[in-house]
């Protein structure tokens, strides 16, 4: 089967600044794929080169076997995009906006499509409200509905939950999960929330400073740490973090040692390793959202 997305050596420079430096990966059809990284890592630029919004300086990108450049119009009907920050036309209701966008794609069943995607994102009750009067979470739902209105094969979501409160974020996760699992669409999303990537993505590419530093399933990335748990504590010499296979033995040893040395250990914490630890291990710097 043709890959949903195939990217190789993708590069984008702005003057001396390298925004994306030779990124390569493939996304399979039906997969849900995440690009995780802090702000400024190059996630959005990578995504926008695949969507056909920004022209790469070097490298190749094809979507469903079709090269995106030089004519991005060729893939437009097969992809749906939610941009990181789009406000929408004011003075049009959610339903009117969806019908209009469906018309942009020459859909003759525009009304039916609008009703369907409104239901999919759970916005039926707000269908008649002007887009600019919706809450942040509702606007994101509408933006996702607009990405779905022409029934694309691949859906791109650029930081879909940034700026939302935890409740709204969890609700949106359900919507995104159902796009991938129930409708079988390929989903590519960027996020700077580790938890979000862990929850929604079958595979995750970790980006830092314009490059991909790791790419695997969330569990594979954590397994590669070769540690099951993270033990952290503070003593007279400072703060310490240990990645260990056997947390129980480590903690017992640590406390035994401290007692015999007469040191005091505070803030002792043990937790299962997660993507945050992967990031810390790969980049040597703590993850900041």
């Amino acid at each position: 089967m043709t890959a949903a997305i195939s990217v190789s050596g993708l590069t984008k420079r702005y003057g001396d600044h390298v925004a994306v430096g030779g990124v390569s990966f493939e996304v399979a059809q039906g997969e849900s794929f995440g690009i995780l990284g802090p702000n400024g890592a190059g996630k959005t630029t990578t995504l926008e080169m695949i969507e056909g919004l920004r022209k790469p300086d070097a490298g190749d990108v094809s979507v469903l076997g079709v090269p995106v450049w030089p004519d991005p119009k060729r893939i437009q009907e097969r992809i749906g995009v939610q941009l990181q920050s789009t406000s929408l036309f004011e003075m049009l209701s959610a339903r009117e906006l969806l019908v209009l966008f469906a018309r942009f794609y020459k859909r003759s069943d525009a009304e039916a499509r609008a009703a369907k995607v409104l239901a999919q994102v759970g916005l039926e009750a707000k269908a008649a409200d002007y887009a600019n009067t919706l809450s942040g979470g509702q606007q994101q739902r509408l933006a996702i509905a607009l990405a779905l209105v022409h029934d694309p094969e691949i859906v791109f979501l650029d930081e879909p939950t940034t700026g939302l409160d935890p409740q709204a974020r969890h609700n949106l996760w359900e919507v995104i999960r159902s796009i991938n699992e129930d409708q079988g669409k390929t989903v590519v999303l960027t996020t700077h929330y580790l938890e979000e990537a862990e929850q929604l993505c079958q595979r995750v590419a970790i980006m830092d400073q314009s490059r991909i530093v790791a790419l695997d399933t969330p569990s594979g990335l954590i397994a590669a740490l070769d540690a099951d748990a993270r033990v952290s504590y503070t003593d007279g010499t400072g703060e310490h973090v240990l990645y260990v296979k056997d947390a129980q033995a480590t903690v017992l040893d640590l406390l035994e040692q401290a007692r015999s040395d007469g040191r005091s250990v505070t803030g002792l914490a043990v937790k299962g390793a997660d993507l945050e630890d992967v990031f810390l291990n790969l980049t040597g710097s703590a993850y900041r959202e």
Binding site: E77, E96, R103, F104, K106
Partner: protein, 363 residues
């Protein structure tokens, strides 16, 4: 171009336009208010100003003319014994114009020569009085002799001849409101769409930019036609203005004018980066035009150099064309030149707009 898509986009643009109360205010309510205000202030009683007449009123043609002027609505007529006094009173600002009669002694004795003295300090009134006096002179001439003028009078201009101020005002304000709706409407919207990333989002859909803006332009042109119909109906019903039978020809003039100002709005919206700058530039461009293009004051009543400036301003041609067709009763062939000039300026501005167009805010 896809017809169903184009129609749906045009309808959406009309909805966006009409749901914004401020747009409706500027395109329909504001011109009605402005016209009513100006009409109440200047339109009826005091508009024409005050005229001082010097001459031998025992002479029949002179007496007839003074009588005609005296009966002119809004014009106050005063008589003095000699021309020098009359001219001095205009210089002092006591009156807006002086009409001095002299009995001709030369080859055609008994004829009357009339000279109209005006001051630039009351240019508006001077322009209006000039029109009234010229009209009265020809009326009296014909009445007195049937053919040869009993009073010869050479007016510099008859621009406002036979038009009352309110007749003059209606097409001017109509032109003004079409200009404001088009320039401000498109420039602010374009900047907003670019700043908010709406243009980038559109770029991801299959609708071509040309089709999207064609829909926007169609919506704006429909608004211009609505402005013509509503404001002419308002002038007729509220102020009893006689609308010529040729008024339908105002529609092509309004469309050409609207197109021209949409191109201007598009160019401004492409060049500037923030909505605030867009508003400022739009005002800087439209405000002087408002006063220099014969919207409120006849261009002929302005100093010569201003008249020259007016002739390069698109609003001048739109106001002229609308006035000729709506209240002067001139046919479409008379305004073909105005329409041509407007289309030419549209083309130039459209080139500027397309060359400066940006999808995204400047980097």
């Amino acid at each position: 171009m896809n017809l169903a898509r184009f129609t749906a986009t045009t309808v959406a643009q009309l909805k966006m336009t009409f749901r914004r109360r401020i747009t409706l205010f500027w395109s329909l309510a504001f011109p009605m208010i402005l016209m009513s205000l100006l009409a109440l202030l200047f339109g009826r009683s005091v508009s024409a100003g005050s005229l001082v007449v010097a001459g031998d009123t025992r002479d029949a043609p002179i007496a007839a003319m003074v009588k005609v002027l005296d009966h002119t609505k809004g014009l106050s007529v005063h008589t003095v014994a000699d021309g020098a006094t009359a001219i001095r009173q205009v210089k002092n600002g006591d009156h807006d114009a002086a009409l001095v009669f002299a009995i001709r002694n030369g080859p055609a004795p008994g004829g009357v020569v009339a000279e109209l003295y005006t001051s630039s300090t009351s240019a508006t009134q001077a322009g209006i009085i000039k029109g009234i006096v010229s009209g009265a002179a020809s009326g009296v001439s014909v009445a007195a002799t049937g053919s040869t003028p009993a009073i010869s009078f050479s007016p510099r201009s008859v621009d406002s001849a036979s038009l009352s101020y309110i007749d003059f005002l209606l097409p001017g304000i109509l032109a003004l409101s079409i200009m404001i709706s088009a320039v401000i409407g498109l420039s602010t919207v374009l900047v907003h769409w670019r700043q908010q990333g709406i243009l980038r989002r559109l770029k991801l859909t299959p609708i071509p930019l040309s089709e999207f803006f064609a829909a926007r332009i169609t919506a704006s042109l429909s608004v211009a036609v609505l402005q013509v119909v509503v404001l002419l109906a308002f002038g007729r019903l509220a102020w009893g203005i006689h609308i010529s039978s040729t008024a339908w020809a105002a529609i092509p003039v309004a469309l050409a004018g609207c197109l021209c100002f949409l191109a201007m709005g598009f160019a401004i919206g492409s060049v500037v980066s923030s909505p605030e700058t867009g508003d400022a530039v739009s005002n800087v461009v439209t405000n002087p035009m408002m006063f220099l293009s014969g919207t409120f004051i006849p261009v002929s009543a302005m100093p010569g150099f201003v008249q020259q400036i007016a002739k390069v301003l698109p609003l001048y041609y739109m106001a002229n064309g609308l006035r000729d067709t709506t209240v002067r009763g001139l046919s479409i062939s008379h305004v073909a030149g105005d329409i041509g000039v407007l289309l030419l300026i549209s083309a130039v501005l459209a080139v500027v707009a397309l060359r400066t167009f940006r999808w995204e805010p400047g980097t």
